[in-house]
């Protein structure tokens, strides 16, 4: 009996020694419990997913883009499916900064995860205004600056595709807040490294990429575009190779951390991004298909590390063999 109990104790001890790998990463001074975040615009205001996953598991929640004032968004149809992807032209519909702080933020701060707000405006003063509003509020870990939405007339991609304006917006927001800043970059540019460097030079603490690729689809029966906005942003597995290439290029070009986004559906997809130099990833369209995608990916990354006898996630970041 004694021997048996002893054996059990030894076994338990042995188990304890084989610790689960460290998944924690640091981005822009924010220590995340794991590298998996949600991508802005695909996770609502966060609470929508509480019935499906434990939000405490997430490295960070990045919320739907917020502007200083509420925004109605584009007329429908706003989305359409394409091969292994989807086009959207939501038009940055949101409830505005004040309503968010009052109605949504209190529901989120009770979770043990980082809250990152995606912000945008139609002009530089509007970007500054929304950044200043959030700078004064507790419970917000960082801001992601959207200079890459393809579905609005002003701001968005217009700012993110012009090096001079991009630099002005990012510098102005930098001066307006002390919160960690992530610049979300557009893939609809010739050289992504130019914009990654601009973000770095403007004092941003990280870059996230890619936002959606500008696309279009037509219904041949009606001869009309599938979206009321005519064009929309392409996301999903279809864009992953483009995203991966751009993340790889950006990670080599700047010293600030790169957050990889674009068509990540599985842990394997996420690991590809980490290998080419992303320090964290954002999960977007996958949330629509599978509301538990983020947690499945976190568990998959952990399994991959264990299987490969790696004790720390940082042992795979940027370790692509070329």
């Amino acid at each position: 009996m004694v021997a048996k109990a002893e054996g059990k104790r030894l076994k338990a001890k042995g188990k304890k020694e084989k610790q689960s790998p460290n998944l924690s990463v640091e981005i822009a001074g924010m220590v995340l419990k794991n590298p998996v975040m949600t991508a802005s615009g695909t996770f609502g205001y966060g609470i929508e997913y509480a019935p499906y996953i434990d939000l405490n598991r997430l490295g960070a929640i990045v919320l739907k883009g917020l502007s200083a004032r509420p925004r109605k968004g584009n007329p429908p149809p706003r989305i359409c499916e394409t091969p292994s992807g989807m086009l959207n032209a939501i038009g940055l519909e949101n409830i505005g900064a004040e309503a968010f702080i009052k109605e949504k933020l209190p529901l989120l701060t009770k979770y043990d995860t980082k809250i990152i707000l995606n912000i945008f405006g139609d002009s530089i003063p509007e970007y500054v205004e929304v950044a200043e509003v959030f700078d004064r509020v507790d419970g917000i870990t960082g801001l992601e600056i959207n200079i890459s939405c393809p579905n609005v007339q002003k701001g968005g991609m217009v700012f993110g595709a012009d090096p001079v304006i991009a630099s002005e917006v990012l510098t102005a927001v930098r001066n307006a807040t002390s919160l960690p800043l992530i610049a979300k970059l557009s893939p609809n540019v010739t050289d992504i490294t130019t914009f990654a460097k601009i973000a770095e030079d403007s004092g941003c603490n990280a870059v996230s990429l890619i936002n959606t690729l500008l696309g279009m689809a037509v219904d041949v029966r009606t001869k009309r575009p599938m979206l009321a906005n005519i064009t929309g942003g392409l996301s999903g597995p279809a864009i992953k190779p483009v995203a991966l290439r751009m993340v790889w290029q950006a990670a080599k070009a700047v010293k600030i951390p790169v957050i990889g986004i674009g068509g990540i559906m599985t842990a394997e997809d996420a690991i590809e991004f980490l290998l080419v130099g992303a320090r964290a990833v954002q999960i977007g369209t996958a949330n629509f298909v599978n509301p538990t995608a983020t947690v499945d990916i976190i568990e998959g990354i952990e399994e991959y590390l264990t299987k490969n006898n790696l004790s720390d996630i940082n042992q795979i970041i940027g370790r692509v063999v070329i």
């Binding site: 149809p77 292994s84 369209t285």
Partner: protein, 255 residues
């Protein structure tokens, strides 16, 4: 969530009926609610498809009645019984039943009949309910569920555009004629079908001051209110079909 496919029948032409074992949805679903189904295992088609819940059975199964309209439903029709269906539901807001009203008029266009059978079953639990069905479609092959409504002792009115069954014409015309004989009697109207039909049913009901609920269809990304893709213009800004609907008071919608 996984639900075993107990049967998957081709009813006629492009119409199919899927029976799933799902104690959870059976327990929680209300008429007018929907579920998001994964129609394939690969990334193409990528998104889930929304389907209204057609029927619940005491053996904890639910039924989904659908029509092949494109790639997603075409692929769905090839899934055989015995397999597991990847399903999320029940979702959205269903029909609101006003217990003070005894006369219920259900107006369906084509496959729009799907959520109305579940509603009729729920209404018939109150023995005082009098159910009237108006069902219109293009051809007689598109007229479904007549037997189910007969069992519920519903008064049935049918129209087809080509006159192959029932009265020739649009179902809204039959509905309009019936309103002339109301004599001030209060009825509740519930409708599902093409948008043009719903707009007309709403117009006719509103003119008589009758309460009218409509079940809307939209392309959906997530089905849970996150993507804001399924917007429809309401009187007070954009409504989301998935979480604000799919059943709306017809007066809330900007037709």
């Amino acid at each position: 969530m996984k639900a075993k496919i107990l049967s998957h029948l081709n009813l006629a032409g492009p119409y199919y009926k899927l029976k799933l074992y799902s104690p959870y949805i059976y327990k929680n679903a209300m008429p007018g609610q929907f579920a998001m189904l994964r129609v394939g295992e690969t990334s193409d088609p990528l998104l889930r498809r929304p389907f209204s819940i057609h029927k619940k059975n005491p053996d904890k199964t639910i039924e989904i009645l659908y029509k092949i309209v494109g790639k997603g439903t075409g692929l769905l029709s090839t899934i055989v019984k015995g397999k597991d269906m990847d399903i999320i539901g029940p979702l959205g807001n269903g029909f609101v039943i006003d217990k003070k009203i005894k006369n219920h008029t259900l107006v369906a266009g084509g496959i729009g009949i799907a959520p109305l059978l579940f509603l009729a079953h729920e209404l018939s639990r109150d023995k005082r309910s009098r159910i009237t069905l108006f069902l219109g479609a293009r051809h007689k092959e598109d007229i479904l569920c007549i037997q189910d409504f007969k069992i519920l002792k519903a008064r049935i009115n049918i129209s087809t555009e080509d006159g192959s069954l029932g009265k020739q014409g649009l179902i809204s015309e039959l509905f309009e004629v019936s309103l002339a004989d109301l004599n001030g009697q209060k009825i509740a109207v519930y409708s599902c079908g093409p948008n043009n039909m719903l707009r007309e049913i709403h117009r006719l009901a509103a003119a008589k001051g009758l309460p009218c609920q409509v079940s809307l269809e939209a392309r959906m990304g997530c089905g849970i209110g996150a993507c804001l893709g399924c917007a429809v213009e309401g009187k007070e800004g954009y409504e989301k079909v998935c979480i604000d609907g799919p059943v709306f008071d017809a007066g809330e919608i900007k037709w």
